[in-house]
């Protein structure tokens, strides 16, 4: 085995406009229920985090992982950065649930990686797009156990606009999101 290249911070600066054209619109070959995942990133003092890179990868509505592209961009992948208020938004389709290698069922979810100044390595997690009752038997939900901690990974559907799923991410301190080791 060769030793891997160590991770380093993305910081200090990267230009949002250069990073990824239309990166906030996730492409899929077929149709699906259009949704927007949006929220804010906060640090350990509760301050919004500007200029973080927020990336997503997910299954399609049938629970399949996209292998292709539309000729210009890969399917299933999103990349945005947070604005000065710490806000991100990804327009995508509702992912389906899917099976793991041992036949276990995964709830509808999106894989998220966060990169920022001050993060020497990426923070990885998964955000659930289903209520707690649906999520509780998911393999990650079981690994977390504590429902209070699990709640940090559940996006809340906007009661006024059901296309919007709101998910705020606190990197450290009270309400700190669960992050996973890959």
């Amino acid at each position: 085995m060769t030793k891997p290249t160590p991770s380093q911070t993305v910081g200090p600066f990267f230009a949002r406009e250069l990073l990824w054209k239309d990166g906030g619109t996730v492409l899929f070959p077929g149709r699906g229920e259009r949704i927007t995942l949006t929220g804010y990133l906060f640090d350990g003092a509760g301050a919004p985090i500007y200029d973080a890179l927020f990336e997503t990868w997910q299954a399609d509505p049938a629970g399949q992982f996209p292998k292709g592209d539309d000729g210009a961009r890969p399917y299933g992948y999103g990349r945005v950065s947070t604005d000065p208020g710490g806000r991100y938004a990804i327009e995508t389709v509702m992912p389906g649930s899917f099976k793991g290698p041992g036949g276990e069922t995964y709830a509808p979810q999106i894989s998220v990686a966060i990169f920022a100044r001050g993060l020497l390595r990426a923070l990885h997690t998964r955000v659930f797009l289903a209520p707690l009752e649906v999520v509780k038997d998911d393999p990650l939900a079981r690994a977390i156990g504590d429902p209070e901690r699990l709640r940090t990974l559940i996006a809340i559907r906007d009661p006024r606009d059901p296309r919007i799923y709101r998910w705020d991410v606190r990197l450290r301190g009270a309400g700190e999101a669960v992050f996973i080791e890959l």
Binding site: P6, Q8, T9, K67, Y77, Y106, G118, L171, F179
Partner: protein, 214 residues
């Protein structure tokens, strides 16, 4: 503080000498999960995603950017030394004066209208890439392998840089990993009198175990 794998070459999340980590590093341990198809798969980049011209950062302006031209070659490999094909390698760097063209970089160094500091390339079937650029101060890199778990952002440093000994971001990396962050001079790939050549391979860690059937 979150635990890291014992064989880890990666820096810890919390590294107080790098002040920005103090409010951004998670305080809870990372949760270990069984490998899922989410991390074993990853986005597929079409050839057209990258234009050949994007591998040369020196041709974007009306004239050549300021600074010392250089050519960087290398391979993207997995931990078993196999090439990672069609891996997206992105580079993002400061200009020769150490300034980034970003609205919040207000430090007192000139912008260079002929240098955007952004490039990208897809690796070929041997995992090889080649980038033409100018020598900057610092050097963040991004890399997307074939599995999402391989996603890496790292930095390349130059050999013999005396600042490495006092750079907290470089020093945050465990001793075992530091050598990997430093490029080697590669005279074969330079152009005499025009550009120095450097070689830098990137090794991507795979997911802990690859699920079958995805």
């Amino acid at each position: 503080m979150p635990e890291t794998r014992t064989d880890d070459v990666h820096p810890p999340y919390l590294y107080p000498d790098y002040k920005s980590t103090r409010l951004r590093a998670p305080s809870q341990p990372l949760v270990r999960v069984s490998p899922s198809p989410l991390e074993a798969t990853g986005p597929a980049f079409p050839r057209q995603f990258v234009k050949d011209s994007e591998a040369d950062l020196t041709t974007w302006g009306r004239s050549a950017p300021l600074g010392e031209k250089m050519i960087l070659v290398g391979r993207v490999l997995d931990e078993d030394g196999r090439p990672v094909r069609r891996s997206l390698v992105e580079v993002w760097q400061a200009n020769a004066s150490g300034r980034y063209p970003h609205p919040v970089d207000d430090h007192d160094a000139p912008l260079d209208p002929n240098f955007l500091g952004k490039g990208q390339v897809l690796t070929d079937d041997d995992g090889r890439y080649r980038i033409v650029t100018i020598k900057p101060g610092a050097y963040p890199w991004q890399n997307l392998g074939s599995a999402y778990a391989q996603r890496l952002i790292t930095q390349m440093f130059f050999p013999g840089d005396p600042l490495l000994a006092i750079d907290p971001i470089f020093q945050s990396v465990p001793e075992a990993g530091r050598k990997r962050l430093i490029a080697e001079l590669d005279l074969e790939h330079g152009i005499e009198g025009v550009a120095l050549g450097y070689r830098w391979d990137m090794v991507l860690r795979g997911p802990r175990a690859t699920p079958m059937g995805v």
